[in-house]
Symmetry: C2
C-alpha cells in the first residue's frame, strides 16, 4: 500500500518542480493535508493565475502582465542603454536598487543558467535587433560573475559583434557592507586588479 | 518594482510550504511560468484533490479516502497488535515491507516530529482507548531511533501506563544490506549490546 491516490498524485506532481526531491515532495504533500482548505484553494489559484495571467514582454523578455512591460513602455527611461540580465529576478533586484534608469534585456524567462538553462536563442536575436534598430548606445552586461553568467556574457558579446555598440560590464570588487574576512580570494583579487586612485 | 502581482503572490504562497525558502519559492514560481498550462492546471487540481478528498482514519489516524481506512477495516488482520508510528509515510513503508499484519496507530497526521510536529494529544488518547477497549495484546513502538522519535515513544509509554499491555519496540542493530564501514558508531554500539547467540 502506498498513499491514497490523490495524495500519491500530488507527490508525483510536486516532484517535477525544480529542487524538490521525493522526500520533500512527500513532506510538502503531507503538510498540504493539514493546511486550512482556503489556503490550499488559494495556493492552487495562485499557481493558475501566475501561469495564465503573466506573459513575456515582447521587447525585453521580462515577465509581465501586459506586453510591452511597464519598464519598456516608460517614456521617461533612457532608451539608449540596455542592461542585459539573466532573469526576471535580476530585473527586480536592479529596480529595487534604483541604480539604473535605462531598459533591460532578459536572456532567460524562468530558470537562471545555474539551474540548467541557457540564454534563449530568440532572446539573443531580439537583443541584436534592438541594438541595430532602436538607437542603443551602450549595452551593460550584468550577468552573474560565475561560470554560467560568464558563458551567457560570452554569447552576448558574440551576438553583438560588428554592431559597434559600446559594451560594458558591472564593476567587480568588494561589495559594500561585507567584512573582508568573509570574501573569497577571487573577489579580493579582482578588487586589487580594479583598484582606483583615491582623489585627494 | 518587484514581480508582477500574480507571480509575487505565488512566491509568497510557496514560501509558506515546509522546506521552501524565499529563493526556492522564486525558483519554483519562475519555473511554473514556463510549464505547459495543462501541467499547471493539473498541479493545482492535485493540491485541491489531496486536501479535499483525503481525511484521517478515525481509528488509527492514518491518511485515507474513507474512514475507517482499508487497513482498520480489513478483518483478516490481527487486531490484537498495534504498531505505533509517527506518520503516514511510516505506515506506507511498513506495508511495503509486508512484515506486519496487525493494525497501526499514527501519532501525527502530517509533519513528522523532526519537522517540528509532536504527537497529537488526541492521537495518544485514542491509543489508550483502543488498548483498553479493543482487546489489544501488544503495542509495538516503531518510532524513529532519533531524539524526536524517542520523545514520541516516551509519551506513548506514559500514555499506556497502568493498562498492562505488552509494550515492545523494533529491534535495533545493523541494517541488512549496508556495509559496516558506513554505519555510525551508535548503530554498532546498539548492535553489540543486542548481540545474540548463533544457533549451532
Amino acid at each position: 500500500m502506498a498513499f491514497p491516490e490523490p495524495l500519491e498524485r500530488l507527490v508525483r506532481r510536486l516532484e517535477r518542480l525544480p529542487g524538490i526531491g521525493p522526500r520533500s515532495a512527500e513532506r510538502i504533500a503531507l503538510h498540504v493535508l493539514k493546511m486550512p482548505r482556503e489556503e490550499v484553494a488559494e495556493l492552487a489559484l495562485a499557481l493558475r493565475d501566475a501561469r495564465m495571467e503573466t506573459r513575456r514582454c515582447e521587447v525585453c523578455g521580462n515577465v509581465t502582465l501586459r506586453s510591452p512591460c511597464a519598464i519598456c513602455a516608460d517614456e521617461t527611461r533612457d532608451r539608449g542603454i540596455l542592461c542585459v540580465v539573466e532573469g526576471p529576478r535580476e530585473v527586480a533586484s536592479m529596480e529595487a536598487s534604483g541604480a539604473f534608469r535605462g531598459l533591460y534585456h532578459v536572456l532567460l524567462g524562468g530558470d537562471a543558467p545555474r539551474e540548467g538553462g541557457a540564454p534563449e536563442p530568440q532572446a539573443l536575436e531580439r537583443l541584436r535587433r534592438r541594438v541595430l534598430e532602436d538607437g542603443v548606445r551602450e549595452v551593460v552586461l550584468a550577468t552573474a560573475p560565475d561560470r554560467e553568467g560568464e558563458g551567457a556574457a560570452a554569447l552576448v558579446r558574440e551576438t553583438l559583434e560588428g554592431t559597434g555598440v559600446r559594451l560594458t560590464r558591472l564593476a567587480r570588487g568588494v561589495p559594500v557592507g561585507v567584512r573582508l574576512e568573509y570574501l573569497q580570494g577571487a573577489v579580493l583579487a579582482e578588487a586589487f586588479e580594479g583598484r582606483r586612485d583615491v582623489e585627494s
